[in-house]
């Protein structure tokens, strides 16, 4: 009798212990989810705050006006055109270079100290603070190569900044292509470059594209390096148009033009004491967030699609 009672008592104790531990599990999973959601909540608060603060400026004039000393009539025209042109240079410098480097490291590079050196460099560059790229550009592009505080300088700087992102994603997506694809192409007499260009690059283009989009979104929002090269903040003119109506229809004068970009315009308005300019800054911030979130969202969705659809 007594033993049975103690067993029962023990059982109750054990059950209580199990209940307690299960409760701990449950509590922790709530805490964990909350910890992760703090980021999301911040993002939401931030966005709502920007939209509320910037609401008075949500009209077309804001996009078609030049900056002005009067906050209410100041606009973003020179900033978004500048951002667009800088991104153009960034795209044409970082993408060919990054994809080529990724292809080399993944498909061509022999396993030796030289390839290791390049690899370590890429990893390290990804960890260099963005403002250091600004100092590099200030010393090298602005004064070393005499490119001045131009769109070309800014585009190349951001190109170098996103190069590691493009290289790493290119390598990752190439690595996902099975060897059998390459062997099949070799078997019908393709050269190495034909294998790479017609097959490997072709099949990994979706993955590479996600990397490019993420990189470009990063470049769009990056402020510090562009401030460091000495970008002007009050630009009341547009760079010369890249397309003209006389032959040869394309010109490159705009590359040497002064410029401002969206995040710099925002920074400038934000660092003024006058609260009216903070409204402009909020509206600009909302615009930047929407564009970068759309770009990043597209990239993430694209990656999800690729992962889901391709079964080798």
């Amino acid at each position: 009798m007594t033993t049975q009672a103690s067993v029962l008592e023990n059982l109750a104790e054990v059950r209580a212990m199990i209940r307690k531990h299960k409760r701990n599990d449950f509590i922790f999973s709530i805490v964990g989810l909350l910890a992760l959601m703090i980021g999301l909540l911040t993002l939401l608060t931030l966005f709502i705050d920007l939209v509320i603060d910037g609401y008075p400026r949500f009209n077309l004039d804001f996009l078609t006006n030049y900056p002005s000393r009067r906050a209410a009539s100041a606009g973003l025209l020179s900033a978004w055109v500048g951002s667009l042109l800088v991104m153009l240079v960034t795209f044409f410098s970082a993408v060919p270079m990054g994809v080529a480097a990724g292809v080399y490291l993944e498909e061509y590079a022999p396993k030796n100290w030289f390839s290791d050196l390049i690899e370590i460099n890429v990893t390290n560059l990804a960890g260099v603070p963005s403002i250091v790229y600004g100092l590099l550009a200030l010393g090298l592009f602005v004064y070393g190569l005499n490119l001045g505080e131009s769109i070309l300088t800014a585009g190349l700087t951001l190109g170098l900044l996103i190069l590691p992102i493009v290289i790493v994603t290119t390598r990752e997506s190439i690595r996902g292509i099975p060897v059998s694809i390459r062997e099949a192409a070799y078997a019908v007499g393709a050269t190495k470059w034909q294998v790479v260009f017609h097959h490997v690059l072709h099949y990994s283009s979706g993955g590479i594209l996600t990397g490019i989009i993420i990189g470009m979104a990063r470049a769009l929002g990056e402020t510090a390096p562009i401030i460091t090269i000495g970008a002007l903040t009050f630009i009341a003119f547009l760079p010369p148009s890249p397309v003209s109506d006389v032959a040869p229809f394309i010109n490159f004068e705009w590359l040497e033009s002064g410029f401002t970009v969206l995040p710099i315009q925002m920074f400038n308005w934000l660092s003024r004491p006058d609260h009216a300019f903070h409204i402009n800054a909020a509206a600009t911030g909302a615009l930047i967030i929407v564009v970068t979130l759309l770009m990043n969202g597209t990239a993430i969705w694209l990656r999800y699609r690729i992962r889901k659809n391709i079964k080798w």
Partner: protein
């Protein structure tokens, strides 16, 4: 093989196909060479960064002794009575980074444990992209948030808090780093073999006990590496502190005060109109060199920790 064919007597005509082969062969080499040049651009960038920082800092240190640079407690390169002590900038950088880590380490670790040990596959598929989106938000926008949202909010709790302070931007920076730390720590935890968890479950441990007493210790090197790389991120972060922490170098570790960080100083000088070659211009490269050395040290320690002390199962 191609060259053997070419060396045959001249009366044997080289077929068009073989000639094409030779061309192809040369072209292949050229392409490989071009691709290699592209890959070398990474090395070239690193070398340029080092050369430019060292070169401009060298001229800086011809005017300023290294001893003053490291021991002077004032940083006023743009004033009449110029002092060149890096300590106030370093203290600002370390204080804001410490606040950021005090926010990011607990939340990031808890988040990582949750993602790796508790979350279902579906939850993870939803949460991880959201975290990635958060990483993509431009820092200047977070600067707005720190200056015009978080600081006013904190002033309601601490009425004596000045408009520029290190607490607000530190907290915002911490929130920015959470996804970074949690995703890296999660990677480390998921690398712990399933058999270890199963062993723990078989002994009657709950998920929480397994996560805390088995998985976390097994993945500790990766988790610490995530922290260290997080420090490096916080130290190099620019816009949030440049906007919200103030621009006055101030040798203090009090988060309630305003102080400039290394990055904020560089931005401040770059916004002004300093002539090329002046001591003020060179001082941003010296500051940049210090910043680079700090982040590089953290990055190297982080990578080594991950590599060296990883337990191999």
């Amino acid at each position: 093989m191609v060259s053997q064919v070419l060396q045959k007597p001249a009366e044997l005509p080289i077929s068009a196909r073989l000639a094409k082969n030779v061309r192809r062969h040369i072209l292949e080499r050229v392409i490989e060479f071009i691709l290699m040049l592209a890959a070398l651009s990474a090395v070239a960038t690193t070398i340029s960064i080092v050369v430019i920082l060292l070169y401009e800092s060298y001229t800086f240190f011809e005017h300023v002794s290294l001893f003053d640079f490291l021991t002077d407690t004032e940083w006023t390169p743009l004033f009449e009575n110029a002092h060149y002590g890096i300590l106030p900038l370093v203290s600002g950088t370390l204080t804001t980074s410490a606040i950021a880590l005090a926010v990011a380490i607990p939340l990031g670790t808890i988040g990582a444990i949750y993602l790796s040990e508790f979350a279902s596959h579906r939850t993870r598929e939803i949460v991880k992209p959201i975290l990635e989106l958060l990483v993509g938000v431009p820092t200047v926008v977070f600067g707005y948030f720190a200056l015009l949202f978080v600081t006013p909010l904190l002033q309601k709790i601490f009425p004596e808090l000045p408009g520029f302070n290190m607490l607000g931007p530190g907290i915002v920076m911490g929130i920015m780093i959470i996804p970074y730390i949690s995703s890296m720590a999660e990677d480390a935890m998921r690398a712990v073999p399933m058999s270890m968890r199963e062993g723990s479950y078989a002994m009657g441990a709950t998920r929480f006990q397994t996560a805390i007493r088995v998985v976390t210790p097994a993945a500790i090197s990766g988790i610490i590496a995530a922290y260290i790389l997080g420090i490096s991120r916080a130290v190099g972060e620019t816009m949030v502190v440049a906007l919200a922490a103030g621009q006055q170098p101030n040798l203090t570790f009090n988060p309630m005060e305003s102080a400039a960080t290394i990055t904020a100083y560089i931005v401040q000088v770059a916004m002004g109109d300093l002539p090329h070659g002046s001591i003020g211009y060179q001082s941003i490269f010296a500051a940049g060199l210090v910043l680079m050395l700090m982040t590089l040290t953290f990055n190297i320690i982080g990578h080594l920790t991950r590599k060296r002390f990883r337990e191999v199962y």
